[in-house]
Symmetry: C2
Subunit: 302 residues, 2 copies
């Protein structure tokens, strides 16, 4: 007899699904499909159903965990919207999946689910209180307090990307200025380097490029990376003072920028935390892009 758990990850640029047996810690099967440009919610739904059916074969799942790339009303299981994919407004995804597969479904936004994944299976294991922060195109975060996702009053806790760290800083998509996201995300790093170079042939600069140039010793790229690390460290220092988590776990592409980046992040967080009492334990995420899938597994086995 088989007791499959299904983990689904609806990302802005890809769909992923995986299957394992209840209680196990290795995937029985896993699929990942990059989404085509200009896709919509209908595409996401059809494609994910096909993926899931392929993984299940003739088996019935015992539980399904879902990570969604956008705000979700956890009490009703309804997607509020996707910031990247049109057509997701108010779709009752949990109920749809429950009807489709005849199994209980748990759903939450990707930052919360990834946080739970790292806490249960990754770099957060053994913690009572953990903040997970992902630094890539955006900056998002999720709290696990005493083994549970902490969502706040409106399901928006963990929005560290929109904490203001530079009151006179750059304009953010959210309408404010100087948010952590607009000062320290991947696009922010690319923007800072572009601003320092002559106009023209610099449109294709990415954070990855800047990080690589910095690691090769380019002083301008290093300056830009150092500044991004410093500002991220300031944001983490704020979280340390407000919530005193036992550990902060950092994921996302930008955090793969090498030892120098990490040591500036840690040093700055330490400088901004109320020492000596507040502990500063900042570690790299362990699950990479699979964090939402692993979190979905944890969500489905409460």
């Amino acid at each position: 007899m088989t007791l499959p758990i299904l983990a689904l990850d609806y990302g802005g640029t890809k769909l992923a699904a995986a299957r394992l047996e209840r209680g196990e810690r290795t995937w029985r099967a896993r699929r990942r499909i990059p989404s085509p440009p200009h896709h919509d919610a209908a595409y996401d739904q059809t494609t994910m159903l096909a993926l899931a059916r392929e993984l299940l074969g003739d088996d019935t799942p015992t539980a399904i965990g879902v990570s969604f790339g956008g705000p979700v009303d956890v009490t009703t299981g309804t997607v509020r919207l996707s910031h990247h994919v049109p057509g997701w407004e108010n779709i009752p995804l949990r109920d749809q999946l429950q009807r489709e597969f005849g199994a209980p479904v748990w759903i939450d936004n990707d930052a919360n689910v990834a946080a739970l994944g790292e806490w249960t299976f990754g770099a957060g294991q053994g913690c009572t209180t953990m903040l997970y922060v992902t630094v890539s195109t955006g900056i998002g975060g999720g709290w696990v307090l005493n083994g549970e996702i902490y969502r706040g009053a409106d399901g928006l806790a963990g929005e560290i990307g929109h904490v203001v760290v530079r009151p006179d800083g750059a304009a953010c998509v959210c309408g404010k200025r100087g948010c952590l996201e607009v000062e320290a995300s991947g696009p922010a790093i690319a923007r800072r380097l572009r601003e320092r170079l002559p106009a023209g042939a610099t449109d294709d600069i990415t954070a990855e490029f800047v990080a690589r140039r910095a690691q090769q010793g380019d002083p301008l790229a290093q300056e830009v990376m150092d500044q991004a690390a410093q500002i991220l460290g300031e944001g983490l220092g704020i979280a340390l003072n407000l919530m005193n988590p036992q550990r902060i776990v950092l994921g996302g592409g930008v955090t793969k920028s090498g030892e120098r980046y990490w040591s500036i992040v840690r040093e700055t967080a330490r400088a901004y935390a109320l020492l000596p009492a507040v502990r500063v334990d900042i570690r790299p995420a362990a699950l990479g892009d699979d964090a939402p899938l692993w979190g979905a597994v944890a969500l489905a086995q409460p």
Copy 2:
């Protein structure tokens, strides 16, 4: 038969104690004694015992709740230190009181206990998640999440006073620059006005004086109060984005600075929060100086 609960509040400048019957919501008796200058822990201990015995008469307490004005190790019930009163280092206050009165004792620092007091009996009633912030000589805070004090990994959660809001700001006692406390507390308000006036006859300026002058229409005092309100609002906006509490309750002398002060605090917090989704519900504390005593009552009736 009587079932007395004893509430004790060890403050930096006063001692307070009160007694009520289990389950009741009015004091049977209450005492408050301002401390003499240069007093020490031994004075605090002797005086508080005398106060408590006076309140109890021949009765035995069924439980004792304690608010302490400084960091406390809640698991062992040991005071770490007082920032204002010498000699409190590592005193096992919980065990001492348990031995003395033969009753179970609960203890926590004053910000946490006041937060629990406001949540149970004051402006936080009915909330699932609440941040309490007191703005007076210092700025402190405490979290109540799902009906319990949230302490963080080292008992230091809620240190919003040492969140950096002005990276290039004034030097704070904690060693950093531009902490919320050094930019928006009572002494910060007094300092800002003093800096704007000719040197000399300005040593006795207090935040209360500045607030009163501002309410009387003095433009310089208004500017100073407005700035303090703005910076406090920024700090609260950070907490709103990070933790999405259902409500923020503001206490402490500085928050008695009138409608203009409050509307700037609320407006700024709103401008710094991730709208429209994050709710902004900021209310004045209801229990005033009694918040720690009421919190001690709640602590003693878990």
